[in-house]
Subunit: 272 residues, 2 copies
């Protein structure tokens, strides 16, 4: 771990967790990743709200917002620029899948200082490859940012060259769902479209936020099923996450989008 | 954790792991559970072989068998009867899904003493309910005993009464796959059938072993697609795992199988 990293486990500085934690045993937990800018974690309330909703989706008692606020106050003097990760597991428990005997949820806050490469030339855009892995369907977990992330790990392992910044993921029915670590938006005929996440995928805070803010601007925003063909024919394609904000896709395999259409406006909207 | 539990992390006694372990962050690892009888872990070589294969399935360097043997020698004086869990994660790494920068795999061995309730009346059988959760398909992970087990957790959370010993899981196409913590076999018209695990499910060591030993006895054993109707019409239904061995199903929801047909013979075969 980065020597300058700081970790709080249930509010106390710690670098380890008990081996019987159900987050380790079963991936029984959820998380959120926030960007820290000028010592402040961006979209704090929105991220906590989503974390709380995700806890509910897997029947995990969510930490109180007051607890997260206390943790944040504890590490606030150390914050500058970097990444803050909030993670909740079902805590320690006896052997076996049953969550009923788990003692108490466990709350982790981890801060890694470091500057994003966000100041790279926005207009240049990013290069995206198409992943071979197809996301499986599981409506009970769709949209949730839970700790079962092996699909993302396997998809990200498909490339190891700096040529590509991100990989595009399709699902088992060949519909486009998201990037490996980001959500997808396309702009096509004056509509802002993003894949519906009712069968798989992670509903990022940046995605929610952009949909809300774009609608408030009067834009036509739709969650829908998207084929790869629809993406390739789009006027523009964009990927969002909480660390990047919004990036425009300059290249998806052989397809090139030479210049921004609406992405710089949407990027500014998201970061406002 | 049980006060009498013993845990080795990379060969050294420990009760915790670093918070940046990818097993915790992403469920990036695999595991196996063994029953310890008379101070000896059952099916040791078979379990290590399966663990090694599973590591390969997710591109994780498997610990050397010599390392596991050393760990076992370390805790051997403490073993009596209980459960031994072997777990491998991709170890600590920097932020992000990419496994390439992970440092070194991490190896856990955990022993929990305790007697199984295995001496309960075999002929009485167990009661099984039908789970509402449907397993999603992911051929890249099908059969692997990996750390992404939220489906099992959610399925096991469906009941909290001692009335049922286990839950039966169907997949998204309504085919029967397994129990929540066990594999299924049915005996029908002189054939031993078990669900094919090419889309989802965990291929337990007891399942492999029973198929091999039954074939060596000249039985007709098939991995196949199984509907719920086929299970309900079977002459007998059985569930296997490494802790139980084999248990006959006496009841599945309203269906009753009043007495054993071939299960006691297969149970003896598996435990031999």
């Amino acid at each position: 771990m980065n020597v300058a990293s700081i970790v709080l486990v249930d509010g106390a500085v710690a670098n380890s967790i008990p081996v019987d934690d159900r987050g380790l045993m079963y991936g029984d937990g959820v998380f959120r990743t926030l960007r820290v800018v000028d010592s402040v974690p961006r979209w704090w309330n929105e991220q906590l709200a989503k974390l709380t909703v995700d806890c509910g989706r897997i029947g995990l008692p969510a930490p109180d917002v007051a607890e997260w606020n206390r943790d944040l106050a504890t590490i606030a003097p150390s914050l500058s620029a970097g990444v803050l990760k909030l993670l909740v597991t079902r805590g320690s428990g006896p052997r076996g899948y049953s969550p009923q005997a788990a003692q108490k949820n466990r709350r982790l806050m981890r801060y890694d200082p470091g500057h994003m490469d966000a100041k790279r030339d926005f207009a240049a855009g990013i290069s995206v490859r198409l992943c071979a892995l197809r996301l499986g369907w599981q409506p009970r977990l769709a949209g949730v940012k839970h700790l079962n992330r092996l699909e993302n790990v396997l998809a990200r392992a498909e490339w190891d060259t700096p040529e590509f910044d991100e990989g595009l993921l399709l699902d088992q029915s060949e519909q486009v769902i998201s990037g490996v670590m980001s959500n997808l938006f396309i702009w096509h005929r004056n509509r802002l479209l993003t894949p519906r996440l009712d069968q798989c995928g992670v509903a990022g805070a940046a995605r929610d936020r952009l949909m809300r803010l774009a609608r408030a601007q009067g834009l036509n925003v739709e969650e829908t099923r998207l084929s790869l063909q629809a993406v390739l024919e789009a006027d523009e394609a964009m990927l969002t996450n909480s660390l990047w904000g919004l990036r425009r896709v300059a290249r998806l395999e052989a397809k090139i989008w030479p210049h921004p259409v609406i992405s710089s406006r949407l990027s500014a909207l998201l970061d406002a």
